[in-house]
Symmetry: C2
Subunit: 221 residues, 2 copies
């Protein structure tokens, strides 16, 4: 009988996992989200389709994992000022969203997410929550530094910062080269002003704690 947590049977080859994500990213850049087929991923990775569906329930989950995996936005280091920090954060976001492979896929993925609560849940815990936490940390630095009197509306700030970049790139299709400076200056001004105003409401959006989703998102057969 099997020991605690130890798997019985042939273990999964981690090289297969890497080959899948590498193939997905490569093909996303070449043929785009709509042109991506599971068969092509398998061939490009030199594996069988079964090895893909053993790991991911659907094609979308496969793409999701390949696009989001490890892409959690790191909090930029302390630059010494709120304006500097915001500029650096905007640069990180722009950098990630300018990657053509992940970029187009992310939008299509958001479409899927809008119609698939399971995927939405995973997306939130994997991507959204950490990113918002990073934003919060950045703002707390400004409070400690004395640049802000109190913590601003984190949820609004988070939606605004990322949402602006998203809209700038994928709706307006503007050149992002000077967006970080413009956005950071604008938001910085808003934060300094808003810090003097009372918050519109005092509801605390409790984050639903979900427990134990398998790391690979696939319940074992």
């Amino acid at each position: 009988m099997e020991h605690n947590g130890q798997q019985v049977g042939r273990p999964r080859d981690s090289r297969v996992d890497e080959a899948i994500t590498a193939a997905v990213r490569k093909l996303l850049g070449e043929v785009g989200y709509a042109g991506l087929t599971v068969a092509a991923v398998a061939e490009c990775a030199g594996i069988g389709k079964a090895s893909i569906y053993r790991r991911y329930a659907t094609k979308h989950e496969m793409i999701f994992a390949a696009v989001v995996h490890g892409e959690v936005l790191e909090v930029p280091p302390d630059t010494g000022s709120l304006l500097g920090d915001l500029t650096a954060l905007a640069r990180v976001i722009v950098g990630h969203l300018s990657n053509p492979a992940a970029a187009g896929a992310l939008m299509s993925l958001l479409g899927e997410i809008a119609a698939d609560p399971t995927l939405a849940e995973r997306f939130t815990t994997t991507f959204v929550d950490p990113e918002r936490a990073g934003n919060a940390e950045l703002l707390e630095r400004a409070v400690r530094r004395g640049e802000l009197e109190r913590l601003p509306d984190i949820d609004l700030f988070h939606a605004m910062f990322g949402g602006t970049v998203l809209s700038w790139l994928f709706i307006s299709h503007h050149d992002p080269h000077d967006l970080p400076e413009r956005l950071a200056r604008f938001v910085c001004a808003a934060l300094r002003s808003a810090a003097h105003q009372p918050l519109p409401s005092d509801r605390v959006p409790a984050v639903a704690d979900e427990r134990s989703v398998a790391p690979d998102g696939r319940s074992r057969p």
Copy 2:
């Protein structure tokens, strides 16, 4: 030979056009973007699939036309204050994006647009440009009213306002009920601050407290 503008051959039945868009909207509300099939649209409209593909090159174009047609965001009427106008504008955007049918479709559409320059062009002229023009008009009112010293960065404002709502709804999945007030207040503060800053500089004022945000009395139209 054909006369000026007159079409030769059997004319299109305008009832078919109407039936298509009506069927798309009806089905989007029932089954969502991912569950929408061309066959279902054809059956629901009581027509053949060929009549759809004669009008639209792809399924996505069909949905795009059905969703965007006539949905151009109207500029809300003058409420007498910038804050009021911004709140009203945010309510309009939230209202449109909260429509489940259009909402999921828009995100998936943005994914297609990222990979299809033709669709991107149509989307820009049909949807993005008019919306930005509407935003500009609203800000010009504030300048005429004397609330703003000069016209702010229109492109940034446009991306920020719509992008924030987009992110709030489809990335953070938050409740939008009080978003218009929060967003409008925040952006209003930013506009007032940014209006009397030099545009191309990166000055770093310490904690220069400005209490000039007093005239905030009205909040509702």
